[in-house]
Structure formats: C-alpha cells, structure tokens
Amino acid sequence: MMEILVTGAIMGTFYAMLALGLSLIFGILKVVNFAHGEFFMIGAYTYAILTRTFGVTSFLAVLPAALMGIAAGLIVERLLMRPLYQRYMEWATLRDEYAVIVTFGLSLFLINLANQVFGPYQISGAGLVPLRERMQVGGVTLSTHRVLASILGASILLAAYLLIKYTYWGKAVQAVAQNRFGAAIAGIDSTRVSLIVFGISGGLAAVAGALLSPIFPAEPFAGAFPAVKSFVVVVLGGMGSLPGSIIGAYLLGILEQVGAVYVSYTYRDTFAFLVLILTLLLRPQGILGERVREV
C-alpha cells in the first residue's frame, strides 16, 4: 500500500507540473492546449541530447531544457494564441474551433517534426544520479533518480505556484482569468499576462519532460501520454482551478497505481480515460471547478 502511495505521488508530481500549466492556460484563454505534451517532448529531447550526446552534467542540463520549453511557449503564444483574445468579439463563436484545431494541429506538427529530425528512435537522458542507485523512502525501495527528480520537480512546482499566488504578475494572471475585460480596464496588459502564462506552462512541462526522460525516453510521441494524463487531471480537478489541478494530479497518480496493481497492468494507461469520462459525466465542473453562466 505504501509503495502504491509513494510511486503514485511521484508520478503525481510530474502530472501536476503539466496540469498546472494547462490549467493556467485554460484559466486565461478558456481553451485546452492540445500541444501541451509537445512542450514536454521538447524538454525531454533537449535534456536527453545534452546529457547523452554532449555529455553535459545532468543537473545543469535541466536549465536549458526549461529555457527551451519557455521559448516554445512564448513562440506559440506569440504566433497562434493572439486571435483568441485580440479582436475578441469577432472571434467569439469561432474560438473553440480555432483553439482545438490550432493546438491539435500544432501537436501533430511538432510530433512529426521530431520524427523527421530525430527519427522514431528513443533517446533516454542520463539520470540525475546513476540510474542504478536505490534508496529507501518510507520502507519502499526506489530509484534515487526518481526521488531526486520528483523533489526537484515539486520544488519548481511550488515556486511557480507561489509566484502566481503572491507576485504582481501572478495576481495579474488571476485577474485576467477571472475577468478579461475587467482586468483590461484595471490597466493589466493581457498580452504580457498571456506570454507569462505560456512561458511558465512551457517551462514546467519541459522540466517534467527532462526529469522523466531517463525513465520515459525522448521520442516523437513522448508527450502524448503525459499530455493526455494532464488533460484528465485538469478536468478532474476542475478546469482553470490551480489547487484543483494539483490535487487532481496526485489523485490520478495514485489511482493509476491502484489500477495497475489491483485491476490490470495492460490497461494501466486506459484508466485515466475512464476517469475522464466518468468525471465529465458525473461532475463536469470537476472537483474544484465552477460552472459558468450561459444565459
């Protein structure tokens, strides 16, 4: 039981890193970024190539991975997300369509681009410490890399969360998420907010990708599963709710472990989808989400 909890919590940390970014984006733009997994993939590739091909020290390689993710986020925002909030009214009816197609298209584009450039091969990153090292946590033997990676991930996650909760720009993000027009009237630059959000999201996802790349190697489809899991997490936690997405992440991490151990190992990746469908059917607004007024 303890083992399930610990392994679940470790995975949960990485889900949370992805889900927080996804949730932030949903908060300010009310769209789901289907290309979120590709930020993860970018981080994984950067880290794996730096550590394997160029022999960069593992801890140092996390930083460029994060920077690549941030850059990817900023570029995506700059090039593709603007229509979602500039000329807002004209787009009002098209935005869902636009957002789904554009982010889904972007996801396919990046996956296939990676396939084109790096080929369908797996490149696994070097561990933060040699991968064979083990340690004891709460009576469970775990790979030291996993433990260190999840601690590092969790501290970055915490930092990002505090940044959003307490800094000026973090508050601006929250303001825009609650009321875009109101925030604009209060003099908040929503373009900048949107850039910040995409930067943070891209960075978090990329760091998750980097830290996981020794376990789930970098490959074109590396981002697909983590992304899908984080979609499930944000729906479970309530779209746009930051605490919700973190709670949801740990919940899903543990649920999956329970499923893998007690139900079926083959279908371990399928449980997430069941959770998604059940949530949408039973409580569409998620654990902490709110329903919006329509008429």
């Binding site: 289907f34 009816t93 098209l94 197609i101 298209g105 396919l108 989808f273 998604l276 059917l281």
Partner: protein
C-alpha cells in the same frame, strides 16, 4: 439541459425525410461545384495507367468519404470530435471480424458497418451531449484511445497490433478500376445525401447548434436529438469508409485509429473548407496524393499538412474550396436581383 428520452419524438424524426427547398442558393452552388470535382474524379484514373496511382486514388476517396463524414459533425454542427479515425477503424474491424469469424461475404460486412458504427456513434453522441468545445474534444480523444487499446490488447480476438487479414472485395487479381469506381459511387451517394440533409431544415438546425447551442434550444431546436443525429450520421459514414477500406487493403489494424490519422482526416476538411459540401473531397484529393508523393522523399507528410492546417485556420479560415465557393457565391448573387452577399460565412 438534461438528456431526456422524451425529447426524441416522431415529429422530428419525420423531418429528416421532408426536404424543403427554400432560399438555399449557396447549397446548390456548393453541389454544382462538388459535382464538377466528381466529374474530374471520374476521368482521373482513366488517364493514369499506373496501378499504383490508381490505388492511391482509391484510398484518396476513402479518406474523402471519412472526411465528409467528419465534416457533418465538425464542420456543420460544430462538434469538434477528434475520433473520425476511430470510427474508420471500427468500421474496418466490424467488417473484418464478421468476415473472419462468421464467414460473411465482404459486401455484407461492409453494409453491416452502417448499423454498427451508427450505434456506437450514437452512444458517443449521448455521452457528449452536455459537453462542448475542449471538453468534447477531450472526451473523443479518450474514447478513441480506449477503443484503440481495447482492440490492441484483445489479442486473441483481433490479433492486436499484427492486424487481421481479410479477403478483398474483388479478389487480389481484381481490376483496380473496380475498386476505384465502387468507392467513387459510395462518395456520390453520400455527397448527395449530405446535400439533401443540409439543404433541408435539418441543415439549419445543425448549423444553428454550431453557432449557438443555447439560443438554438430556446428557439425550438431539439438540440439533444440533432446533436445525437449528427454523431450517428457522421460516425456511420466514417464507418462505411472503413468497411470499404479494409476490403481494399485486406488488413485491419489498430494503426488506423491513431490520433495522427484523425489529424489527417480533419486536416483534409480544414484545408478544403469546413462546413461546405465539397471541402472535404477537395481536401482529400489534394492531400492524399500529395502525401504519397512526398513520402518518396522521406518526408513526414503530416509535418506539411499539420503546418498547412495551422496556417489555414489562422489566416484563411474558409479553406481552399470554401474560398472558391464564397467567390462564386458573391459573383452569382451580385449579378442577380438580391443585394451583394458577404463572404463572411467563415
């Protein structure tokens, strides 16, 4: 809004059959243009003696059919399903399993895809009733991944990733042109049916749901029924395409259900022009042969197409065919009595 069985009433169902030809000039123009393309498609394989390229054209029309099916849901009704490829795959397996285990002739298998995939589509539609936008897209992703995994892991029944071999429709030695014209006729039948549907009042209902579901319900449109219908019809068309496809290539495999394939099908509709009758056909005729062509140079075709799809939706939402249609539409109207028609149908 609750999903409520009482709302499925006879009056609405009967309405599918009653066509009203009103002021649907644009729809007729759309049909005329589409038939222009279909005539081109009729003579195309005759001019290309290569068996390989005739095969490519056949697959092109399979994709065109699937894309037309998705267009009903995504283009006309605004329900952004990412599962068209899954229904293609389900169509493939429906027929393949029936032929393999029950010894049905391929034709019967192909026909059986219609009821089977309609029912599955209807169930998915009912599941998605209250969802829209990103939530709907996510649910369809979940649905397609679950389905694909079920097929992959039910190894004893479906042969998993190895795929299930089935006999082809006209045999291995069969004339390639037979295959081509069969799917060609299926396309014509489906396009005509979609035209009739969309130029009837049902077309208005579906488009009103796309534009504003809440308002549509407030104005008497049975949104529950028509959304479910759109799912059902769309899925069965994709399923039909799959049923045919499996008896062309002779192998059913879960590869078909990848999101990548869904992206391919959707990009055809987007690049051609969503929400038009001929857009998906135009998109398929453009993209599929091109994909075969660039494959020779070792280029991942989806790199190009997804990039094109992003460009199109960003800068040129009407799509290629859609733009031509808009131009002709304006041209026809301004030479007639009515005031100038805007091209802002998007």
């Amino acid at each position: 809004m609750r999903a409520d069985w009482r709302v499925f009433n006879a009056r609405d169902i009967g309405m599918v059959l009653r066509i009203s030809f009103g002021a649907w000039r644009r729809q007729w123009l759309d049909l005329a243009l589409t038939f222009g393309m279909l005539i081109l498609a009729a003579i195309l394989p005759l001019g290309i003696p290569s068996i390989y390229w005739q095969g490519v054209l056949t697959v092109t029309l399979v994709y065109a059919l699937a894309s037309t099916g998705w267009n009903i849901l995504g283009g006309f009704t605004g329900q952004f399903s990412l599962a068209p490829a899954t229904f293609l795959m389900l169509g493939m397996y429906t027929s393949a399993l029936l032929v393999h285990y029950r010894g049905w002739p391929p034709v019967a298998g192909i026909l059986a895809t219609l009821p089977v995939t309609s029912v599955i589509g209807m169930v998915l539609g009912l599941l998605c009733l209250r969802l829209r936008g990103p939530y709907l897209a996510l649910t369809t992703v979940a649905f397609s991944e679950i389905t694909r995994n079920l097929i992959r892991f039910s190894y004893n029944f479906t042969r998993g990733d190895l795929g299930l071999s089935v006999p082809t429709l006209y045999g291995m030695e069969g004339n390639r042109l037979y295959y081509y014209y069969t799917i060609y006729l299926l396309n014509i039948a489906v396009i005509l049916a979609v035209h009739l549907l969309m130029s009837s009042r049902v077309g208005l209902y579906l488009r009103s749901i796309r534009d504003d579901e809440v308002a549509a319900a407030g104005r008497g449109v049975n949104t529950v029924l028509w959304k479910t219908m759109a799912f059902t019809i769309s899925s069965s068309i994709c399923g039909l395409a799959g049923g045919y496809y499996v008896h062309f290539i002779g192998l059913a495999s879960p590869e078909m259900g990848l999101l990548l394939q869904a992206g391919f099908i959707i990009s055809m509709a987007v690049i051609g022009g969503m929400g038009t009758l001929g857009g998906p056909l135009a998109g398929a005729m453009l993209l599929y042969p091109l994909s075969e062509y660039v494959r020779r140079f070792g280029i991942q075709y989806m790199v190009i197409f997804s990039f094109l799809m992003i460009l199109m939706i960003r800068f040129w939402k009407a799509g290629i065919y859609g733009t031509i249609l808009n131009i002709m539409d304006r041209w026809v109207t301004s030479s007639g009595s009515a005031p100038a028609l805007g091209s802002k149908y998007l």
